[in-house]
């Protein structure tokens, strides 16, 4: 177990180095650099050269990468070129906003999706099943940015029930209630597709399991439906569920880019789009590293979860 963990962590570090290096190359080897953006189209070549020197952009890419990496190892992520602020506190602040949003999405999508899938499978072919399946089909086909706009149009513009932008009201106290009220619409938007996918996959894995002999045996010995589905069947779809959850958690994080754009949520996705467009290299680098590390951790967590939900799986 420990050996497995160490091996996985080493692999994770390799992936992170790879990811950060690829991003570094992509950013540095393509036309357009921060100096150009900062000085605008009318900059003279002299000014550009001077600023590039100041920012260290005139060095070979490998040297620049090595310098960046050695600073990161010492906890120094550099300063944002455009915002003149330290990168680390900025990405942490943005990342926590995204985590709040994602957590909201997870809390809606995971339990509801699982429940919907189980109920649909247990009542296969009934009206409940058909409704759930149809809803899930509609759900996976809806573009999130469109759903977000529809929710804003309905609940903010027409009904005026819920705020449609931002994380806190500009005039409010900024308390937890304020945050939760602002979270409802974006979290719902974010949850929609994962919710549909989870319910579809739960339903299909449940149907697979229900067809097994031991379920028939459990039924034959007179167990209640609840016990058969809730205990015998449910335990056996957990491995499949763990995979889906792991994948979906990662994708919730990615989907947040659109949701943040639609709802002006001050998260890391929103920030990254702007940072990439303005070629704010240090900010992009730091953000990518943090997000990729989260991905890697989610994947590792999922694999460890397998061993927990299914004792037959062991890591040596």
């Amino acid at each position: 177990m420990w050996r497995y963990l160490v091996r996985r962590l080493i692999a994770a570090i390799v992936v992170l180095v790879g990811v950060s290096f690829v991003v570094f190359l992509v950013l540095h080897l393509t036309p357009g650099d921060p100096a150009q953006v900062l000085l605008g189209p009318r900059a003279t070549p002299d000014e550009l050269v001077r600023l590039r020197q100041e920012l260290g952009l005139d060095r070979p890419v490998l040297i620049q990468y090595a310098r960046w990496a050695s600073h990161v190892l010492r906890g120094d992520f550099g300063r944002s070129i455009m915002q003149h602020r330290a990168v680390l506190p900025e990405i942490i602040r943005r990342f926590s906003a995204t985590l709040i949003l994602t957590a909201g999405g997870v809390m809606l999508a995971f339990p509801l999706g699982t429940l919907g899938g189980i109920v649909a499978a247990a009542r296969q072919g009934t009206l409940v099943d058909r409704l759930t399946t149809t809803a899930a089909m509609l759900g996976v086909s809806m573009p999130a940015f469109w759903v977000g706009l529809l929710l804003i149009i309905t609940f903010s513009v027409h009904l005026g029930w819920l705020p449609g932008t931002g994380m806190y009201s500009p005039t409010g106290s900024g308390g937890l209630t304020d945050l939760l009220v602002h979270l409802i619409l974006p979290a719902t938007t974010l949850a929609l597709v994962p919710l549909s996918i989870i319910s579809r996959l739960t339903r299909s894995s449940m149907l697979d399991v229900i067809g097994e002999d031991y379920i028939r045996t459990a039924r034959a010995k007179g167990l209640s439906d609840r016990a058969v589905i809730g205990k015998h069947a449910f335990r056996n779809i957990l491995v499949a569920m763990a995979t889906v959850f792991g994948l979906q958690a990662g994708f919730l994080l990615a989907g947040a880019v659109y949701v943040e754009t639609v709802f002006s949520w001050p998260g890391i996705g929103f920030m990254m789009v702007n940072a990439i467009l303005t070629r704010d290299f240090p900010l992009v680098q730091g953000g990518v590293l943090l997000v990729a590390a989260t991905y890697v951790l989610i994947n590792l967590g999922t694999d460890l979860l397998y061993a927990y939900v299914d004792p037959r799986i062991r890591y040596g």
Binding site: V15, L16, G18, V19, V22, V23, V26, L27, L29, T30, M137, L138, V140, S141, M142, P143, A144, F145, W146, L149, L150, I152, I153, V157, L190, V193, P194, S196, I197, L201, S204, L207, T243, V244, L247, Q248, G250, F251, L252, L253, A254, G255, V257, Y258, V259, T261, V262, G269, M272, V273, I276, L277, R279, V284, V288, V291, A292, Y295, V296, N299
Partner: protein
């Protein structure tokens, strides 16, 4: 995000590819598909959109780019403007029809790109194995460790915003799913008796790959394509929505949504309508894709 849809499905298919019974009779499968009402409904929707897109230049439509300031933000069902007009007074109905061309083209092109590259990579890795496999799969791992949307955005940033580049980015992100799925299918196929027999009979590697391996993975790959294409379209529209894809004034559903977004308080239909069009097309594709999967891959239901 619809994206998560595509990718989770991709994962499911990738795992299921090798389980497919080799040599399911196509005739039976088509009968199964035709018996599925929802799949037929989806196919009809797609067909209608394809027809509209193809015939757009010949239909009696207003020029999608002609502005008519007097008509700006007209609501749906205004005389002469069935779906109303946008903030510049452009006919929304005409723009939606013309926009379908962009979306369909994007779907077909980016899916073909992802499929051909991904399948080639997966074939190579799976069939030859060894060091090539190891190297390719580590590369794929790195690709997948990226939040796909950031990868797409970074690629667009590198290549410059534009529809073509957005399409390339979305395709590149998807290569890994095809590669993984095909590789695992090939790994199983490689050990099958008929492959061993072909090798024993002295067939060249190229012949084995082309005549024996490829035909056997083609059906599941095409089924996956049908389920993947809707996601590609949504994702490219999403990039256009955040300003990285198609640029104004082109009649593209994502760009139209972004334009309409500024007017949702006064004229919500300008943003709602292109999104609805996108939703209907993707729903049709997904229904048809699901039907194909059920018909050709009964194990996956």
């Amino acid at each position: 995000m619809a994206s998560s849809g595509g990718q989770a499905v991709a994962q499911a298919i990738g795992e299921a590819l090798p389980r497919r019974e080799i040599g399911v009779r196509p005739a039976t499968s088509w009968r199964r598909f035709l018996a599925n009402r929802w799949a037929i409904a989806g196919a009809v929707v797609v067909l209608v959109v394809v027809l509209a897109a193809t015939l757009a230049p010949f239909l009696p439509l207003r020029d999608p780019n002609v502005t008519q300031p007097a008509r700006r933000l007209s609501p749906p069902f205004s005389p002469g403007y069935v779906l109303g007009a946008d903030h510049l007074g452009r006919d929304l109905f005409s723009r939606v029809i013309w926009g379908s061309r962009v979306s369909l083209l994007v779907g077909v092109l980016s899916t073909s790109l992802a499929m051909s590259v991904g399948t080639t990579v997966g074939l190579t890795a799976g069939y030859y194995g060894g060091r090539a496999d190891l190297l390719i799969m580590r590369g794929i791992d790195i690709l997948m460790a990226f939040p796909y949307i950031l990868l797409a955005i970074a690629l667009v940033a590198a290549l410059g915003p534009g529809l073509l580049n957005a399409m390339i980015a979305v395709a590149v992100v998807n290569i890994s799913f095809y590669a993984r799925g095909v590789r695992s299918a090939v790994l199983l196929l490689r050990e099958q008796e008929f492959i061993v027999a072909a090798r024993a009979a002295g067939a060249t590697e190229g012949r084995i790959l082309g005549r024996h391996v490829l035909p056997n993975i083609l059906a599941p790959v095409l089924v996956f394509v049908s389920m993947n294409i809707g996601w590609m379209i949504t994702e490219t529209a999403g990039l256009s929505f955040i300003g990285l894809g198609a640029q104004p004034p082109s009649a593209d559903w994502g760009t139209m949504l972004a334009d309409g977004r500024q007017f949702i308080t006064v004229a919500s239909h300008v943003a709602a309508i292109p999104g609805l069009a996108l939703f209907i097309l993707v729903l049709g594709l997904n229904l048809a894709g699901d039907g194909l999967r059920d018909a050709f891959d009964p194990r996956l239901r």
